[in-house]
C-alpha cells in the first residue's frame, strides 16, 4: 500500500512539474509586465523599467529559457519570485491561504454534509411533493450564478440590518469593529463569516444534493436492498445500512477532492465578501501581469488537486472493500 502511494506520488510530482512549467511558458510569453510602467505619469525612463524587470526576472529581453532556468532554480530554493512591483509571491500565498481556509472550511464541509443528507432523503421520497419542491428550489439555485446569489444575500442582509437597526450581519472583510467584551474577537469573526458561509452552504448543498439523490436512487433500487428487506430489516434500516452506505462511496471521493480544491474555487465568494483569499489573488495576478504570481497560484492549485486525488483514492479504499482487497 505505501509503495503504491509512493509510486503514485512520484507520478503526480512529474505531472505537476510539467503542468507548472507549461504555465510558466504561457504566462511569461503572454503577459507583458512592461505595460504596467508604460502609462505612468510622469513617464519612467526605460532603463529604470528594464532594471526593475530584470531584478524580478521579468524582462522579455532576456531569453525565455534563461528566465525559466532562473525561476526554476529559485523555486528549488523556495523562492517563488516577485510581482513586477516587488511583492513576494510566496508571502502572498502563505497569508492568503489561511484567509481562504478560514472562509471556506466550514461552508464547504457543511454544504457537502447537508447536501448528502438532503439528497439521500429526497431520494427516498422520489416524486412526492417534498422531493419535487426541493428539486425545484435546488435547480433554481444551481442555475443562478454565484455572484448573483452572493449579492442578493448581501442585499437581504442589508435590509434586515436596516429594519432592525442593528449591525448583526457583517459582510465586508474578515474583521470589523471589535467590541469590548470577552471573546469579542471571536464573535466578530463569526459575524463576518456567517453570510459567506451561508452562501457557500447554499451553493454546495444544492449541487451535492442532486448528485447524492441520483446515487441514492440507484442503490435504493438495487437488489441487495430488497435482500436486506427480505431478511426482515425495516425499510429505514435497510435504507440507512445498505443503500446509503453503498451510495456514499462515490461521495467519499468527491468530498476528499472538494476539500482539497476549495482553496482555489471560491473566487466570487471571496470577491463579494472582500476576503483576500487565494481565489481572488489568482484573478488579480492575471490582471496585474504578475507572471510569477500566476505560476505560483497554478502550482498551488495543482498541489491541491493532486492532494485531492490522493485523498480520494484513500477514501475509496476505506469505503469500498472491492478496491481495498482486489
Amino acid at each position: 500500500m505505501l509503495r503504491y502511494i509512493g509510486k503514485r506520488l512520484l507520478n503526480y510530482v512529474v505531472l505537476l512539474y510539467v503542468a507548472v512549467s507549461l504555465t510558466y511558458f504561457l504566462a511569461a510569453t503572454q503577459l507583458n509586465p512592461r505595460a504596467l510602467f508604460a502609462l505612468r505619469q510622469p513617464p519612467i525612463p526605460p532603463q529604470i523599467v528594464e532594471a526593475q524587470l530584470r531584478q524580478y526576472n521579468l524582462s522579455d529581453q532576456v531569453p525565455l529559457l534563461e528566465r525559466y532556468w532562473i525561476w526554476l532554480t529559485g523555486v528549488f530554493h523556495g523562492d517563488w519570485g516577485y510581482s513586477p512591483l516587488g511583492v513576494s509571491v510566496a508571502e502572498q500565498i502563505s497569508t492568503r491561504m489561511w484567509v481562504s481556509l478560514r472562509l471556506l472550511l466550514i461552508g464547504t464541509l457543511a454544504g457537502i454534509l447537508i447536501g448528502v443528507a438532503v439528497g439521500a432523503w429526497t431520494a427516498t421520497r422520489q416524486y412526492m411533493p417534498s422531493d419535487r419542491t426541493i428539486t425545484a428550489l435546488s435547480l433554481l439555485i444551481i442555475s443562478t450564478p454565484a455572484f448573483v446569489v452572493g449579492t442578493v444575500t448581501q442585499m437581504m442582509a442589508i435590509s434586515v440590518n436596516n429594519a432592525t437597526g442593528s449591525r448583526f450581519f457583517e459582510f465586508i472583510g474578515e474583521t470589523g469593529d471589535v467590541g469590548n467584551y470577552p471573546l469579542a474577537d471571536l464573535v466578530d469573526r463569526a459575524q463576518h463569516l456567517l453570510l459567506p458561509t451561508l452562501v457557500l452552504i447554499l451553493l454546495g448543498a444544492t449541487s451535492m444534493s442532486r448528485i447524492q439523490r441520483n446515487l441514492m436512487l440507484d442503490s435504493l433500487g438495487a437488489d441487495f436492498v430488497r435482500t436486506a428487506r427480505a431478511k426482515g430489516l425495516r425499510q429505514s434500516k435497510a435504507v440507512m445500512k445498505h443503500a446509503l452506505r453503498t451510495a456514499l462511496i462515490p461521495t467519499g471521493t468527491y468530498l476528499a477532492y472538494s476539500v482539497a480544491t476549495m482553496f482555489v474555487g471560491a473566487t466570487f465568494t471571496e470577491r463579494i465578501f472582500s476576503f483576500p483569499g487565494i481565489g481572488q489573488y489568482g484573478v488579480d495576478t492575471i490582471t496585474n501581469r504578475d507572471v510569477n504570481g500566476v505560476v505560483a497560484v497554478t502550482a498551488f492549485a495543482g498541489v491541491c488537486v493532486l492532494v485531492g486525488g490522493i485523498l480520494s483514492d484513500i477514501m475509496v479504499a476505506i469505503l469500498d472493500p472491492r478496491v481495498r482487497l482486489a
Partner: protein
C-alpha cells in the same frame, strides 16, 4: 453438517403452512393498469416443494413479491395470503418485517447483485439472524460459519470474513441460501434461483437447496421457467399464463397428463436432451399477451389451435379433471381429452437440403480452424498498468465446418466459446494457428479481400433487444449491410421484402421500429439482417437463450428451415445442450480454451467419453419427473479455474470425478501429460487419457 433449529415449528408437517386465496395484484404503469396476477389460489403444505411455472409476464415473480410484502407501494393487492393461518394482507411493515427472514425467506435470481458489496458475507448472515433473535455476536458468527459449511462453502471459518466480490456466482447463490435458511424459515421462495448460473453450477445449487430443505424442513416455492428444474425439484406445479393459474396438479399430472392446451404446447415445444428429435419442433404460435388491457375471454385464445367462440366470450375457471387435485382452466377440457401436442400443435413442414444426401466427407469445407490460439495479456493497476500474466482464452483448437452442417459449441461461461466466435468473425490474425474461411487464410487478407470475405460470414447475436438500433426502422436495419456492400437501391428494396417474408415477418411492417416487435420477432429481424448478404456461414451466438420457451421453438425451426433452403452452415453457440442436440449435426465441447470432446451429436450425447461431457449432460435437469427421480447425477465440485492460471496436464483434472478414483500413477499422468484429442469409433474424439463411459465406482465415491 447439521445446524441447531432456532425454534419450534408453528405448523406441523403435512398441514398447510401458506394459503393463498384469490390473489389479485394490480399496479399502475405508463401504458395503463397492469393486472399482473388475476385470481391465484394455492395451499402450500409444510415441507413440500411447489413450482410456479410461466413465461415472462405471467405474474410469477409478482406473486412472490406480494407474498413477501416487498411489492412497490403503488401496488394494489386483494384476496388473502395466510401464513400459519394468520392473514398477511393488511399487516403493516413492522409486523411483516418480523415474519420476513424468520418465517418466510426469499432467494433471488441474480446472486451477483443480491448481496451488499460493502459488507462481508458473515456480516450479512449475522444481520439476518440478529434481526430476529437476540443472539450474542459470537453465537451468531458461529452459526454463520455453520450455515456456510452446510451450503458447501469450503473453509467457512475464513470465508465468512470475505466480501461478496471474492465469491463466484454459484458461491454467492450458496451464501444467499445460507442467509435464507439462517432462521429456519417455514417457507422459502426461490425466484429463478439458478437461471443466471451455468448448468454445472445450477446442479450444485439445486443440490444445496435440497440439502437445506432436508435440514430445515422448510416448504419451498420454486419460481422458474425451466421445466427441467420443475421436474427435478418439485412435487406440485402451478402453471401461470397472463396472470392466471391455468393448470395445477402434481408434477406427474402436469408432465404426463397435461390438459390445458398451453401446458401441452409448452411441454411439447421444449427440445429434449434425452431424445433425438429431428425435423421441426411443435410450435406455439404468437406471443404471451400483454396484461395491460386484456380482452375478455381466455387469454390463450390467439395462440390456441382449438379455440371456439365460447373461449372468446368468457374466461374459464380452474376445474377438476381426472382427479380433484389436478385442475385446469379450459372450456373444452372434456372435448380435448386425450389430445397431445402432436394433435394440437403439429410441427410445420421444413425444407430439407439436397446436401443432406451427400456424405459429410464429400461436402466442401467452408470454415477451418487449425490450432487456433488467442491469448490476452492480463493487466493490473489503474494508472501503472502492467502485465501480470496471460489469459489463455482459446488455447489451441481445431475445427472444420462443412457446407450445410451445424456445429454446436458448448461449455460453461469462461470456456472460450465467445472468444472463438470473435476470432472467426475478426478475420484477422490470431495469436497462433490459422482461421480459414472457404479455404482462405484470414491472416493474409488485404482490406478489400477482408470486406469481400465478410459477406460470406454473418452473425446473429444473443440479445435481440441490444443488437438492433432502436432509432432505425427495420427496413434500414436489414438494408444496411447491402448498402455497405454497394447493392443498388432498387434491388435492396425488393430484397428486404423478400427477406422479411423469408423469416416469417410481414413485409408491410418494414417501416416499423424494433420496439414494435416482440423478442422472437426481433431475433427474426436479426436473422434477416444476417442473411441479407447471402452468406455461406452463419455464426449464431446463443440466438435463442434470451427468448421465452414457447418462442424458442419457432426461431429454431426457422434456422432449420433456412439451412435447408439456402444451404447455410452454422456455428451455433449455446449453453442449452438440449437445443444443441436438436439443431446441431456435430458438437464440440469446450473447457478452458480447449476442445475436450467433438463429434457427431448422436454419438456424443448417447455415449459421451470425456468426463466433462458426461458431467455436463448429467447436470441438466430433464423435463420428465420419472427420469429425474431415478437419475444419478454427477455433480462437479468447484468452479471453473481461472483461464489465466490453468492446471497443468489435463485442465479438467481439478474437477474430474474420474481423476479422483484413479491410482497414483494414473493421476500423475493426468497431472503431467496434456491429453490429445483421440478418435474413438466413427466421428467422435475425446481428449482424456481415460476416456470411456461412466463406471459405477466413479459415482459411488460421491
Amino acid at each position: 453438517m447439521s445446524i441447531q433449529p432456532l425454534k419450534t415449528r408453528r405448523t406441523q408437517a403435512g398441514q398447510t403452512v401458506l394459503s393463498v386465496r384469490d390473489l389479485h395484484v394490480t399496479f399502475p404503469s405508463e401504458a395503463g393498469l397492469v393486472r399482473a396476477v388475476r385470481g391465484l389460489s394455492f395451499d402450500l403444505a409444510a415441507g413440500e416443494t411447489m413450482a410456479i411455472v410461466g413465461e415472462s409476464g405471467s405474474g410469477k415473480s409478482v406473486t412472490s413479491l406480494a407474498v413477501m410484502g416487498l411489492h412497490p407501494p403503488t401496488t394494489r393487492i386483494t384476496g388473502s395470503i395466510k401464513l400459519h393461518g394468520e392473514e398477511l394482507l393488511g399487516q403493516n411493515d413492522d409486523q411483516l418485517s418480523n415474519l420476513r427472514g424468520r418465517d418466510m425467506a426469499m432467494i433471488f435470481q441474480d446472486p451477483l447483485s443480491a448481496l451488499t458489496p460493502v459488507y462481508t458475507v458473515g456480516d450479512q448472515i449475522v444481520e439476518a439472524i440478529q434481526a430476529h433473535y437476540d443472539v450474542s455476536n459470537a453465537k451468531a458468527w458461529q452459526r454463520a460459519i455453520e450455515l456456510l459449511d452446510l451450503v458447501g462453502i469450503p473453509n467457512p471459518q475464513t470465508r465468512v470474513k470475505s466480501f461478496p466480490f471474492e465469491f463466484s456466482g454459484g458461491m454467492r447463490q450458496r451464501v444467499m441460501i445460507a442467509m435464507a435458511i439462517a432462521n429456519d424459515p417455514d417457507v422459502i421462495i426461490a425466484d429463478e434461483p439458478t437461471t443466471a448460473l451455468d448448468v454445472t453450477i445450477q446442479a450444485q445449487v439445486l443440490e444445496v437447496l435440497k440439502t437445506a430443505q432436508k435440514e430445515t424442513g422448510a416448504a419451498i416455492i420454486m419460481i422458474t421457467h425451466d421445466l427441467g428444474v420443475v421436474a427435478s425439484m418439485s412435487e406440485r406445479v402451478v402453471v401461470m399464463y397472463a396472470g392466471r393459474p391455468v393448470e395445477t396438479g402434481s408434477v406427474d399430472d402436469i408432465f404426463y397428463q397435461p390438459r390445458m392446451p398451453y401446458t401441452i404446447g409448452l411441454l411439447g415445444t421444449v427440445p429434449r436432451l434425452d431424445q433425438s428429435t429431428h425435423g421441426a419442433l411443435p410450435v406455439l404460435e404468437g406471443n404471451p399477451p400483454s396484461v395491460v388491457e386484456l380482452p375478455p375471454g381466455c387469454p390463450f385464445v390467439p395462440r390456441c389451435p382449438k379455440a371456439v367462440d365460447r373461449c372468446k366470450a368468457s374466461e374459464p375457471e380452474l376445474e377438476a379433471t381426472d382427479s380433484p387435485t389436478h385442475t385446469a382452466a379450459c372450456h373444452r377440457l372434456a372435448e380435448l381429452e386425450g389430445q397431445g401436442h402432436a394433435e394440437l400443435f403439429p410441427p410445420p413442414e421444413l425444407t430439407t437440403s439436397e446436401l443432406a444426401e451427400l456424405p459429410r466427407e464429400q461436402r466442401p469445407v467452408v470454415l477451418e480452424l487449425t490450432d487456433l490460439k488467442r491469448h490476452y495479456p492480463l493487466m493490473k493497476g489503474a494508472i501503472y498498468r502492467r502485465r501480470v500474466g496471460t489469459v489463455y482464452a482459446v488455447d489451441g483448437i481445431d475445427l472444420d465446418l462443412r457446407q450445410g452442417e451445424t456445429l454446436g459449441l458448448v461449455g460453461e461461461s469462461g470456456c472460450g466459446k465467445s472468444t472463438t466466435l470473435l476470432e472467426i468473425l475478426n478475420l484477422g490474425k490470431p495469436t497462433a494457428g490459422a482461421v480459414k474461411v472457404q479455404g482462405r487464410d484470414t491472416s493474409t487478407l488485404t482490406r478489400h479481400e477482408r470486406k469481400e470475405l465478410r459477406r460470406n460470414l454473418q452473425v446473429v447475436f444473443q440479445d435481440p433487444m441490444a443488437s438492433l438500433d432502436p432509432r432505425l426502422p427495420i427496413f434500414d436495419i436489414i438494408a444496411e449491410p447491402m448498402q455497405v456492400h454497394g447493392y443498388k437501391q432498387a434491388d435492396i428494396e425488393l430484397r428486404v421484402r423478400d427477406l422479411l417474408r423469408l423469416v416469417g415477418l410481414e413485409p408491410g411492417h418494414a417501416d416499423r421500429y424494433p420496439q414494435h416487435f416482440s423478442g422472437g420477432q426481433r431475433q427474426r429481424i436479426g436473422i434477416a439482417r444476417a442473411l441479407s448478404l447471402e452468406p455461406k456461414v452463419m455464426v449464431l451466438d446463443e440466438p435463442v437463450s434470451a427468448l421465452d420457451v414457447s418462442i424458442q421453438a419457432g426461431v429454431i425451426n426457422l434456422l432449420d428451415d433456412l439451412q435447408g433452403k439456402l444451404g447455410l452452415s452454422y456455428v451455433f453457440v449455446a449453453h442449452d445442450l438440449a437445443v444443441i442436440r436438436h439443431i446441431a449435426d456435430r458438437v464440440a465441447v469446450m473447457y478452458l480454451g480447449k476442445i475436450v470432446e467433438i463429434g457427431d451429436v448422436e454419438r456424443v450425447y448417447n455415449d459421451p467419453a470425456h468426463p466433462y461431457t458426461q458431467a455436463l449432460l448429467s447436470a441438466i435437469p430433464i423435463p420428465d419427473p420419472n427420469t429425474e427421480r431415478t437419475r444419478q447425477r454427477i455433480v462437479l465440485s468447484g468452479d471453473l479455474p481461472s483461464p489465466a492460471n490453468p492446471p497443468s496436464g489435463c485442465k479438467f483434472r481439478t474437477r474430474c470425478f474420474r481423476y479422483a478414483v484413479l491410482d497414483e500413477a494414473s493421476q500423475a499422468r493426468c497431472r503431467d501429460e496434456v491429453p490429445d484429442l483421440v478418435q474413438r469409433v466413427g466421428d467422435q474424439s475425446a481428449a482424456c487419457h481415460f476416456a470411456g463411459p461412466v463406471r459405477a465406482d466413479e459415482l459411488a465415491t460421491r
